[in-house]
Amino acid sequence: MKRWLVNIWESVSTLLIGMGITWRHLRRIRKGNVTLQYPEETWPRPERLIGFDHQHYNVIRSRLHVDIDDCIGCLKCERACPVSCIKIETVKAPKEVDLGLTSHDTKKRLLVKRFDIDMSECMYCNLCTYPCPEECIYMTGGPNSHKHPIDYEFSEYDRNNLIYRFAALSDEEVEQRLRVPAPPVTNEASHD
């Protein structure tokens, strides 16, 4: 009989303790919860430091980005890519046409007509970024966050949207860009 009453008392009191715990959690829900309302809130972005001088090693594997204005069309990244996910087409510019300088003060001699990176094939090995003489292809974020913030949310509904077309010039645009500017003097017109 005594054991029976003790059992009842123990179960009732421990049940009340358990209910107190859940009630405290219910009351404190505004102060802290574990839910992240994903599209509106995102996890803090990983800015990773590696052991050695990371300024020289482009190690944040987030997403390839190309500053197409700096690209000289050397195709080094295309050759370096182990999975061949980079496709570049270039057109040689005539001598008279000035395509401008890159940010490294290199004269651009080739017009990049097409620069596609298929991010669905990319394996984030980073090998394309090392050979680039102009440092215009890089992974976003990390040491490059001053050029482009880190971005790892690039899921798409259509797989074709994962092919990033950094340069997609039509034939007309290429022709327009490569048109030899008319000489300053109209002497040549009377020649023919």
Binding site: M19, I29, N33, V34
Partner: protein, 360 residues
């Protein structure tokens, strides 16, 4: 407004005796609001349950944020979206199932709380049928749903369904006893089975400040309230007494094979049953539509409010139970019922009898 009053009103209008159309019209007029009450209760309770469970687990539950419509502010439309989804789902009946019983079972299960709510007084006047055996009728109808559970479990031709149905039959029939015994104690005190008379017994004050509710009447009736409430949690198959549908053991118990709208009927009846058992607890122990501050807010409108408010609190406590306690084992469940609750309920009857004779 009871059915009888409506029929009498029809008679006074047409000047003739009781006819079939009068009865039908009166039943429809009173039945539709009751169905709406049950459906609204399910929709609101599912939403509240999700939120309460989320908050107790440090989550935030359904939220409709961001661009587009989503589920409304704070996910308020989540249950509506769920109901629409269930309506559009494919209706699957297993080929080995007993087709007629399989189709019939969800309706029987829903019929039980729907019949029971007919006798529930929502306030001083709002009651479909003022039966002189109200408590008895509500309890009887409440346990009538177990037939539907067994039908569902048997007709599904599934071992989990059958196990769930057997367990729920054993559980519901067992827990009827302590629940009934603890109500008998109150019926002894009041001297009536009529729900309105039980509530009227509880009007006024006790010791000048407490409402004169049965739960405060004497220590035995205080204990009886807890026995009844915990037994009623077991009767509606909710955690910690949810062994009939124990997810980790029986997939979903008796409604394993049900999908779509039929499954929704099971869900509807679960919440309807919660409403019924908490309504009985409120009427019998917590003074029904009487105000917790005696003398104030005692009109019929406030009566409806207090009644629903008390029901809401008790349903919230049931949810609190659900998200706090782990499930009992079958033998533990039976132990609690037969070795703890029934002796205590017997003691209560004796104690209440002695109290009524000695103290008054």
């Amino acid at each position: 407004m009871t059915v009888d009053q409506i029929i009498r009103w029809f008679q006074s209008l047409s000047g003739s005796g009781e006819q079939a159309w009068m009865f039908l019209a009166a039943v429809v007029i009173t039945g539709l609001p009751l169905f709406l009450v049950l459906a609204t209760n399910a929709i609101v309770a599912v939403y509240v349950e999700r939120k309460v469970s989320a908050f107790m687990q440090d989550r935030i539950g359904p939220m409709g944020q961001g661009a587009g419509f989503h589920a409304g502010k704070w996910g308020l439309l989540q249950t509506v979206a769920d109901a629409l989804k269930l309506l559009l789902k494919e209706d699957v009946i297993p080929s080995a199932a007993d087709r007629k019983l399989f189709v019939l079972a969800p309706y029987i299960i829903f019929l039980a709380p729907f019949l029971a709510i007919a006798a529930i007084p929502f306030n001083q006047v709002l009651q479909v049928s003022d039966l002189n055996i109200g408590v008895f009728y509500v309890l009887a109808m409440g346990s009538f749903g177990v037939i539907g559970l067994i039908l569902a479990g048997w007709a599904s031709d599934n071992k989990w369904s059958l196990y769930g149905a057997m367990r729920s039959a054993a559980q519901i029939v067992s827990y009827e006893i302590p629940a009934g015994l603890s109500i008998i104690a109150v019926v002894m005190l009041v001297g009536s089975l009529n729900l309105q008379q039980i509530i009227e017994f509880q009007t006024g004050t006790r010791w000048g400040f407490l409402p004169n509710w049965v739960v405060f009447h004497n220590p035995f009736s205080f204990l009886a309230f807890f026995i009844y409430f915990i037994s009623s949690v077991a009767e509606v198959n909710r955690t910690p007494f949810d062994i009939p549908e124990a997810e980790s053991e029986l997939v979903a118990g008796f409604h394993t094979e049900y999908s779509g709208m039929r499954w929704a009927l099971f869900f509807l009846s679960e919440y309807a049953n919660m409403l019924i058992v908490t309504a009985v607890a409120v009427i019998v122990f917590l003074g029904g539509w009487t105000s917790p501050i005696p003398g104030l807010f005692a009109t019929a409108g406030w009566g409806l409010f207090w009644f629903l408010f008390k029901i809401g609190i008790l349903i919230l406590v049931m949810m609190w139970f659900r998200w706090t306690f782990p499930r009992l084992r079958v033998d533990q469940l039976m132990h609690v019922c037969w070795k703890v609750f029934i002796p205590l309920a017997m003691l209560n009857i004796f104690g209440v009898g002695v109290w009524a004779l000695g103290v008054g």
